[in-house]
Amino acid sequence: MRYHQTFVLLLSSIVVSSLTVGTGLPTRASSRDASIGKWIDAIRAVGHQGAGHEAAQKALQNLHRCGPDALVPILKGIRGANPLAANWLLNAFEVIADREVRGGRGLPADELERFLLDRDNAPRARRIAFEWLAKVDPSVIDRLIPGMLLDPSPEFRRDAVARLMADADRLRGQDQLDRAVALYRKALTGATDQKQVEALVKRLKELGQKVDLQRHFGFIVDWQIIGPFDNTDRKGFAAVYPPEKEVNLRASYPGKLGPVRWVPIHTDDPYGIVNIAKSVAPYKGAVMYLTAEFVSRESRPVEFRLGTPNAVKVWLNGKLLFAREEYHRGMFLDQFRVPAQLQAGRNRILIKLCQNEQTEPWAQRYEFQFRVCDPSGLAVLSAERDGAASSP
């Protein structure tokens, strides 16, 4: 084992490090582990607006001097760390790993592999472990990636999908079309990267297959809509109109152009785009509300992922989760990611979508797309959705 082969070097590294950090005295392994843990904790305490930097800087300097025994503890420390602390820890890992590899001392390969195969660890940290392992042992790519099609890490899934696609392409080239279709379908189950999904859909369509992209991504395609309310001079974004106080689908309210009431709206767009300008009217200076019910079998964390060129607010069960007053700066798949906690049973999603009064041709879009997925991007479907159990 590479780790054992470099034991002597590690030991000397530990002793040297011990002489230069902490008390300056050589320490036993357990106290050294405690020191590493203490430094990791100090880094995990960094917070908003530079909070905790002083202690974290000292801790990071100490970690930078550590040997490879600190690598896996550092990666484990990333789980549950805030995004800032995760980056401090990532640098500690890279500085040590880089020094070890450049020094020809290798890495604790077995420990790193055990770490990355444990799906309870932070997905991004697992990926880092994998990439460094692959630098010293490229065979891990062929050995591990095929088993990662449904991994919590989108990066692992992406690699696994790419391999399956390549295999399917080869089969297709050999005219083994049924087997190719099966592999493309299998690849699709783990695909959330838009380019990969588009490539798979293209291939499947060429082979006479249909793909339900709405279901694959988890777009909500059936909504109730009401409006327009007034957004002259963009005042409507802050204004509280009746749908924000209650969602009563039988109610009628005074709107900008007269009485308004809830009506259903459905989109057939493969990417779930609800185009208000085309499907309802090209309102300007307007506020529209949309609502949908989402049934969850259990209480669970999800992400709402939406895209829109319009100002938007999102509520879940009456609680405001997201607000952004930006107009006409583009619309992209998964443009905004909103962590949410679904309750078991019925959940009420409410969206407020505002259009301003710009007259330029590029400022006329009034649309959005909205999907529900797990934090890794895999679709989460409402239990009420027809055929929810079937595959896309």
């Binding site: 960094v46 908003h48 607006q49 530079g50 930097h53 002083e54 974290a56 800087q57 990071l60 300097q61 930078h64 995004p83 800032l84 995760a86 980056n87 401090w88 990532l90 640098n91 500690a92 890279e94 500085v95 880089d98 991004r124 989108p154 990066e155 992406r158 990267d193 838009q194 380019k195 060129p309 952004r324 007053e325 930006e326 107009y327 700066r329 583009g330 619309m331 992209f332 998964d334 443009q335």
Partner: protein, 408 residues
Amino acid sequence: MKCFCVRTVAACGVLLAVTVDQLGAADWPQFRGHPGASAEDVSAPPTAWGDGKNIAWTAELEGRGVSSPIVIGDRVFLTSCTGPEQERLHVICFDIRTGRRVWERQFWATGSTSCHPKTCVAAPTPATDGRRIFAFYSSNDLACLDREGRLLWFRGLTYDFPQARISLGMASSPVVTDETVVVQVEADTDAFAMGLDVDTGATRWKLDRHRRANWCSPIVWERDATAERLVVLQASNGVWVVRPRTGDLIARYDEGASTISSSSAFGHLLLVPSNGLTALKLPQSGSELETVWRQNRLRPTTCSPLVYKDHVYVISGSILKCADPRTGRIRWQLRLRGPFSSSPVAAGGYLYVFNEDGVGFVVELGPRGRIVSQNPMNETILATPALIDGGLLIRSDRHLWKIASKPQ
């Protein structure tokens, strides 16, 4: 460069000297080079290259990036981003003599990575004070590293202020002066400028700014009489001049300015892309910047104006224009072939600028401009080159190139 070090040390004392004395004439510390963008002259890079001639080395780049390289001594630092959502942020260090990758570090974006396809998350150019690298990204993540790639601190400004993002991506590059790194984070939904302590990453000051998407970069402007270094913050509503250490507002100009093309300094004059190009100076009293001249025919499109040897150069569309920075009078103009995203640089009497198709134009400067050569790189180029003594570093979509006549 000698004047930069000497004057700064004289003004700011020994402590600052420790910080900046490692910056030399051949260094290129930030977007468009030395503070104020009024570069000291260095030896001219080759005036033609290609087919193996005058290309000292090329280094392959993964992922994307439109940021420029910066240089300290024998090290080149470059940022890039990888991943399907550009969520991996990289800082790469190269050996300037060989193009060898010395080290590479990465971070995870904590802010938005949403971008227009033409740009990317690695859009802002990093900056250095000679000891530290300040790598900034469209996600508003700011990583401070030492020259060996050891992180000194990390801030996530969209993590701190979640509305500070533009869905089309951000691009403003930081500047460093007076032990302070200054960033502009200006979107429709939140907008601020911030000065951070270079040692700790702590916020020295934060100024609320005009809420309008803004991609131009701050510049350092050296006040004539006192050699005090000021920072110019430009936005759609005009210009603020602030003290870098405190953020104190010294003077302002409220007649609008570009949100893409950044200002340049010419001694006591500030040349602002505003209503064409407008020259401003600090007032004797009061807080309104005084307009010295305005030339609406000098209208930079995307590139920032270049001040070089008592002239100002502006690219409007495909036209390179040379003007007197004291009066705004246009001396000559020359048709190139755009479009240009990359800003021009100049050395040894030549101007170098790359169009988006990757053609590097070399223009001899004088009573009239003359195109000396057109050098196709055959790759998209959006980044501004870095000047080194006798050479150029230019980043294309896929490579970092060193244009130089001999290994240096």
